[in-house]
């Protein structure tokens, strides 16, 4: 499906919507469309119902975490140092804000074409970021959006039953985020690796007076 044809068509039909092409440099060349959150629902509905498109099958929904980056750049600047103009290196840091991204892969059962890839991004990646849910359009997003809510922490507005899917309800964090630190309350498992062993031993000596009876057999 050629996005260059689809994109102006959508823009013509959904007034005010802002689409952005995200090119994919890899050999797969699966380019995608970045939607803005306000018009995402309308665009998705159009994609499903437009008679020449009919993307009725939402195959895959997933999230990607893009943490904010601090990029340090060394720039040579001319400056007056001790009254003499010199070329001095200075470090400029720019902060690229992070975001959580949700990706939808759409196919058409009726027309047998696809995929078309939609993306949505949140403003930041703090707790309680919202995106519109596309579950009312494609039922298949129901469990997958729940999974993204569970593992990434994106709150989908309009989702009929937004609960955690894989983790238990009382779980706090979102494990698929890049900065997730796993708690060290795992079962003691003998391993040949020092760091795991150390953490396990530390945990057991602190939290639990019962030491594992067997030493690892190195």
């Amino acid at each position: 499906m050629n996005l260059e044809i689809v994109k102006p068509e959508i823009e013509a039909n959904i007034p005010g919507c802002h689409l952005e092409m995200v090119t994919n440099p890899s050999p797969s060349a699966q380019h995608s469309l970045l939607l803005d959150a306000e018009h995402a629902f309308a665009v998705a509905l159009y994609l499903r119902d437009a008679p020449n498109l009919r993307f009725d099958f939402c195959s895959n929904v997933t999230g990607i975490d893009w943490p904010g980056k601090v990029v340090a750049q060394k720039v040579k600047v001319r400056k007056l140092v001790d009254g003499v103009e010199q070329e001095v290196e200075e470090t400029h840091t720019t902060t690229i804000p992070g975001s959580l991204e949700v990706v939808y892969h759409l196919y058409s059962v009726e027309k047998k074409h696809g995929p078309i890839i939609l993306r949505m991004r949140t403003q930041d990646r703090e707790a309680g970021v919202h995106l519109p849910s596309l579950t009312p359009i494609w039922r298949s997003a129901e469990l997958q959006e729940r999974e993204i809510f569970d593992l990434f922490g994106v709150i989908f507005d309009g989702h009929p039953d937004l609960r955690r899917l894989l983790m238990w309800d009382e779980f706090q964090d979102h494990p698929m985020r890049r900065d997730y630190v796993d708690p060290d309350d795992y079962e003691y498992e003998p391993t040949a690796h020092d760091e795991v062993l150390q953490r396990a031993q530390q945990h057991f000596s602190q939290a639990n007076p019962v030491q594992p009876s067997e030493e690892e057999g190195r």
């Binding site: 498992e189 003998p190 391993t191 040949a192 690796h193 594992p212 067997e214 030493e215 057999g217 190195r218």
Partner: protein, 213 residues
């Protein structure tokens, strides 16, 4: 007629009931401790270390390059590199693993360590009688328990081992030729003494390596 399909099904189970007494194909169960399935050559379960010759410490092919440790998906291999070096089967002076542990309670028999090993030192075993009464130590195999001879490797995976041996023999021949050429060149420059010393250097290792052909 109601019940036709039920009668058909009953006939089918009756056929299987009597068939299981007649036909061996139907009764596929293997009565395990008494009967064994024939060993399939490609079978793999856990890795072992190959050594050449008679002495496992002397002939160990592993040079502690630690590639397998890095590539192992569940990270079940642990290697300590030795401080000193010793000559390997080709006569090159190499490191050897001071510690080589595989935790087979973690290992998932994926064979990636075998694929990445450039020295044909680690191969997959077929021994599945591994029960142990020691949950932690019993399944942590150390260097000695992991070492198995090249003959054993030839016995369990004959086709694969033959190919490996042929390749190693070729490599060795190349190295020998190279060494010989170097020796000849040296002999041309110097007289006999140098050639003798180089021969003396190779002689013991050749015997230790065993004859790959």
């Amino acid at each position: 007629m109601v019940g036709e399909g039920i009668l058909k099904g009953l006939a089918e189970t009756a056929r299987n009931f009597f068939g299981s007494y007649v036909s061996k194909d139907r009764l596929t169960t293997v009565q395990y401790p008494e009967q064994r399935e024939p060993q399939i050559e490609a079978t793999r379960d856990f890795p072992f270390l190959v050594y050449d010759g008679a002495d496992w410490q002397q002939g160990m092919r592993c040079v502690a390059c630690q590639i397998c440790e890095k590539e192992c998906p569940p990270k079940c291999i642990y290697i300590d590199k030795s401080k000193d070096k010793k000559p390997d089967a080709f006569g090159k002076s190499q490191f050897y693993p001071a510690t080589f542990n595989i935790d087979i309670s973690v290992c998932m028999s994926c064979q990636i360590c075998v694929e990445v090993c450039p020295f044909d030192a680690i191969k997959m075993d077929v021994d599945y009688h591994l029960s142990s009464d020691n949950r932690f130590g019993g399944l942590m195999l150390n260097k000695q328990r992991l070492s198995k001879s090249n003959e054993y490797y030839n016995a369990i995976h004959p086709t694969e081992a033959a190919a490996v041996d042929a390749q190693r023999a070729e490599e060795k021949a190349k190295l020998d030729a190279k060494a010989k050429a170097a020796a000849d060149a040296k002999a041309a420059a110097d007289a006999k003494a140098a050639a003798e010393s180089s021969l003396a250097q190779f002689a013991p290792n050749q015997s230790a390596a065993g004859d790959p052909q």
